[in-house]
Symmetry: C2
Subunit: 275 residues, 2 copies
């Protein structure tokens, strides 16, 4: 399979892993987000992922998000695509290593940043208010923020650096995709169906570090509660199943951790792990 | 979504539907065929399905099968792709009707038939022995049968006509895709998640007509037993779940019925039904 296909398969395997407390999986829909929408999102993202093999990262990402979001603008895999786009490029250049993907993201341009802002117009993405001095760079402005991006000469890598403190997808971009590669190692180590390994890696990652989407939506205390609950019950599938219900009831949806697992699955597939 | 994407999504929704006695679904792997392999098959078939929008039907089908089969030659969706390829073409020509797809299959050539025979070299497909006078056309010969196909001047439509008596995928090809369109109507009528509707349509189809893959593998009596069991318990999800176990124990795998449901899902998606 070419890199874009491995990326598409990574999205499908990620969402199929269960139990993954708080997230959609093959056994659980959320009230506003369903398993089948993730299948459709993975299919729709295909053209953008193929573009990521050779086109501009920003344009490829925007196209992937547009295809994923479909007619109703559901956001199923925005963060995962933001990680997969540069990883697909690094893989198609034969350099799927922390240094290789670091080079890819550092080579992004102001035009890539502009495309990234346009991507927010295709679907609804949960973000916090930016600090006052960056108000003109608020991603929720979409295209309207592009003049400010251009005036400041910000590349997509620069934009990610602004978010690295509060968003772990951005932190991957500025930190050599450290956790993504670690998840890939773990998926290679584990045995069994890949979606089971992905669910296990998800729980381990969540136990290790608070999910930044949960922290943005519900505050650090809730994110820490979720982390601790998972850490206390790691490996206990029955308890994790019960936690899945508790998380959904509280609206706790650790989406960033899932994004990183999708990135790790992609890397593992590129290394030859088989579904 | 473009037709090739709807076809890919149809494959994913079909395999996700449960319970679907005897077949792989999101809750059930078979000993030699797993859910994740179907996800990979749908991803791998993408390039061939895109080719079906404009290239030769035979070449597109061969490419789809090659991509589906991957490194180990698993046969997850051979029959479904044989139905989807001409349906994708009909849709991309704006004529997704029984007459439209009938025209597409009647326009196939000897070169399409040759590509069809080559497709058998990419994966293992269960077929019965042909009548003695067609021995030189046995699909298991793969490319080696192509000279005989060319000598007799058989188009892919002609080859399907040879199989229509014992294979319901071939029967769709020669009968205006009658059941595929009927499944699409039924999926439009039903409500709920599309994969649930697909599973319900699968059971209804199986109750109506013996599965030809089961008949080829185990004989007409076993195919009739399976049909009757499903007919007796239609709509009773608990019993259907129990039958799923019984079917798997007997190696009864109604794959042709699943192929037709995938085709019906594609038509329904093209008509605007949403995942």
């Amino acid at each position: 399979m070419r890199p874009a296909e491995h990326a598409q398969l990574a999205l499908l395997l990620e969402v199929s892993g269960t139990p993954k407390p708080g997230n959609v999986d093959r056994d659980r829909d959320l009230p506003d987000l369903r398993y089948e929408q993730f299948l459709a999102g993975a299919v729709g993202a295909g053209s953008g992922l193929r573009a990521a093999e050779s086109d501009s990262i920003g344009i490829a990402f925007e196209r992937a998000v547009e295809g994923m979001a479909g007619r109703h603008g559901e956001n199923t895999q925005f963060g995962a695509l933001l990680l997969l786009t540069p990883l697909v490029r690094a893989a198609s250049e034969g350099e799927l290593t922390p240094a290789g993907v670091d080079r890819v993201v550092r080579e992004t341009t102001v035009a890539d940043a502009a495309a990234f802002y346009r991507a927010f117009e295709h679907c609804s993405v949960f973000v916090s208010d930016p600090p006052a001095e960056w108000d003109d760079l608020d991603v929720r402005r979409g295209s309207a923020a592009i003049p400010a991006v251009e005036e400041r000469g910000l590349t997509l890598h620069d934009v990610m650096a602004l978010g690295e403190g509060e968003d772990d997808v951005a932190r991957e971009w500025t930190g050599g995709f450290e956790r993504s590669f670690r998840v890939a190692d773990r998926i290679e180590e584990l045995s069994g169906p890949l979606s089971d390994r992905a669910a296990a890696a998800f729980c381990e990652q969540l136990a290790e570090r608070r999910d930044t989407l949960v922290a943005k939506k519900h505050g650090t205390d809730v994110a820490e509660w979720a982390r601790q609950e998972i850490a206390d019950h790691l490996g206990d599938v029955e308890m994790l199943d019960a936690l899945a219900t508790a998380f959904v009831e509280r609206g706790v949806n650790p989406g960033t951790t899932a994004d990183i697992v999708a990135a790790g699955l992609f890397i593992a597939l590129e290394r030859g792990v088989e579904a």
